[in-house]
Symmetry: C2
């Protein structure tokens, strides 16, 4: 008897949640589940900025896949996806080629370079555990070098390019970390600059002006310099040049963090799928419109609501999509009814370091300060709970006390 | 009434111990004690290799001067010595010039470059807290970079040039640290190489062959590759070239630690004193033979015993010299008898990581393994005790348990 081969690409939140649901619901005599991922661990993307600033150890952010997935039920392959061949129902990996009957694509995101590779190639970006850990060590290494050179200010200037939520959240964490770094490396705080460059006229432009202003003030109170209307023109290993009001400013720095947004994994495009901004359009069953045996989850899925508006991707959305996908795969075996993806946006939360934040709810109510920081924590904890139950929550969850 | 101005240069072990003794014994109505140092802390040079490997935090090695010295009794000036003018009885610092009646020179050591600045300028050396901390962070930074590049083995090859006690002790600590670094950065130990290059035919040539061999075996058992008869020819930021048996070997590495010995601070030479190998000859009262108001302690002091042999410098020796200097300065006020410096060599101890070591006593008996490691610990602890009493010992002392 031929077992149906279900291949899940990527241990991103959507991929993981699909596997978690399928390992419980499917009859493994009729189906084989294969999960393919570059590493043997999953990580929570919403915490990477903390790992990069060094305020949270990366082992608090990542989870060995074997802790969540029953490897007797799901076959885990550690390999990198090279291309998908939908006509042959094959996925080419670096070390082998895998056939599938049902494919779930959840390959996550990469950093958006907005068409300026010459700017971003000398900048760091927060995209995964490896890059976040590198940023942390790069910052520390510059502090360590300072007293071994003659007053090189480039070592202690840290530039964040982009005032969206990634840039702001990272700036908040770094502002929290700087005093600790100053103690560790015997450097006066006075000499350390954290400079956030934003090309538009305000940071967090997707938020209400009073919330964005609150966030800016919170960061500035902790020493972050925010420069709006500043367009990055050049980024070299030892300096950055930005233009503001027609004038060019050269900033000596050995650390530029590119926080200019994210885009879906380009493998969909390079594999020849029909895409819009790198995303594949899906039905509300989360199924590709081109290939009915392909499901897409998370960043790569383009799903429009009744009024034609695309859902904005979030970890929360991806988890719900995964539940729909797992249900619909199971329904395919039983010929039961398919589920449709329906969700309301939950509002937005941005943390500003450990003890501050802003949030806006779907009903329009807004929160500042520790309440918002607490909401962000709740959200992270809820994620752990849904993925791995109480035990994962207790192991990785955040239980800061606010006072 | 003119107070006698006693100026101590350097918070090295000898300088610190002189200040500690003088602040107790002198009548501060007739004498003023000034201690000049680059930093506001003192550190234990015998632990720097542990800080550099990352097995001991640098705060365990250094002590704020104010914790040991009563700053109501001793005037501490944080500044760098530029030159000494013995004819004018002046010391020129970067920010001011200081007059003295009595001068104690204890300026410590720097790394010996053995006439090859072109080799050592791309290498790291373990000379103070700043350089040790930089090495630690440089090693970590290379580990962090590894997964962000395409298999660059230079990141994970660590070369130690010099198989004397500094090189061996550092190799021992690094061997202890590597497994921890591998866990932290998700790297298989297999990929990490620690390579120790020694130009002569044996490491630790000042030790008996069986002890040197024991040390080599201990390191090799923990993965250190020891190459004897290897002369370093070139050291670049991304590789090292050494010659062995007439053949040149190129080793890709971004980390070369130069462990080729130390030499006294060159300020004695550049100030125009008569020196031998950078050291100033002193009488057995620890007084300069040229200028009777100048005392010299530690690395910079050249003192010969009755048979004309120079005492080899060590922290232990410097502490004893300082006690003699403090006594003789006090005696100068009271016109009492001067003390002479007399000491026996105590034997030598070399640690090989946390739990192993070798030691040879003055009576010729030898020790291996945890006993020798324990003796090294005892020696470090004794130092803290002599300098700052029980409270400093409890604060900074090492109390590893051996089993």
């Amino acid at each position: 008897m031929h077992k149906t081969k279900i291949v899940i690409l990527g241990a991103c939140p959507g991929g993981m949640m699909t596997a978690v649901r399928l390992q419980k619901s499917l009859n493994l005599k009729e189906a084989e589940i294969i999960l393919i991922n570059k590493e043997d661990y999953h990580y929570q993307t919403t915490c990477l900025h903390e790992n990069a600033a060094g305020t949270l150890h990366h082992d608090r952010t990542r989870i060995p896949i074997r802790n969540i997935i029953d490897l007797d039920k799901v076959h885990l392959i550690i390999d990198k996806v090279v291309t998908i061949k939908p006509e042959q129902k094959q996925v080419k990996l670096e070390k082998q080629t895998i056939e599938y009957d049902i494919l779930v694509i959840g390959l996550g995101f990469e950093t958006e370079s907005i068409g300026f590779p010459e700017i971003t190639e000398n900048a760091f970006s927060i995209k995964d555990i490896n890059s976040a850990r590198l940023i942390k060590d790069h910052i520390e290494y510059n502090f360590a070098n300072y007293h071994n050179e003659e007053n090189n200010e480039a070592r202690l200037n840290f530039v964040i390019a982009g005032g969206g939520s990634t840039g702001i959240e990272f700036a908040g964490e770094l502002a929290d970390r700087v005093p600790e770094l100053c103690r560790e490396y015997d450097i006066e705080k006075l000499f350390v600059r954290v400079i956030l460059l934003e090309s538009s006229n305000t940071v967090l432009s997707e938020f209400e002006p009073e919330l964005a202003e609150y966030a800016a003030k919170s960061l500035e109170a902790r020493g972050v310099e925010i420069v709006t209307g500043a367009e990055v023109k050049e980024c070299q290993p030892e300096y950055v040049i930005y233009e503001k009001n027609g004038e060019e400013v050269k900033l000596p720095t050995m650390t530029t963090i590119w926080a200019g947004g994210i885009r879906p994994n380009p493998i969909l495009e390079t594999s020849g799928f029909r895409t819009t901004d790198g995303k594949m359009e899906v039905t509300d069953h989360m199924r590709s419109k081109e290939y009915k045996e392909i499901f897409v989850v998370g960043e790569s899925a383009l799903l429009k609501n009744e009024s034609g508006q695309a859902y904005s991707p979030s970890v929360d959305t991806a988890m719900k999509q995964a539940a729909v996908i797992a249900h619909n795969i199971k329904a395919g075996f039983n010929n039961t009814r398919l589920k449709q993806f329906r969700t309301k946006t939950k509002g937005k939360v941005v943390s500003l370091g450990n003890e501050d934040g802003i949030a806006v709810m779907i009903n329009g109510s807004t929160f500042y300060g520790w309440k918002a920081a607490f909401m962000k924590q709740l959200r992270d904890n809820k994620y752990f709970f849904h993925l791995g139950g109480i035990s994962l929550l207790m192991q990785k969850g955040k239980f800061h006390l606010f006072y």
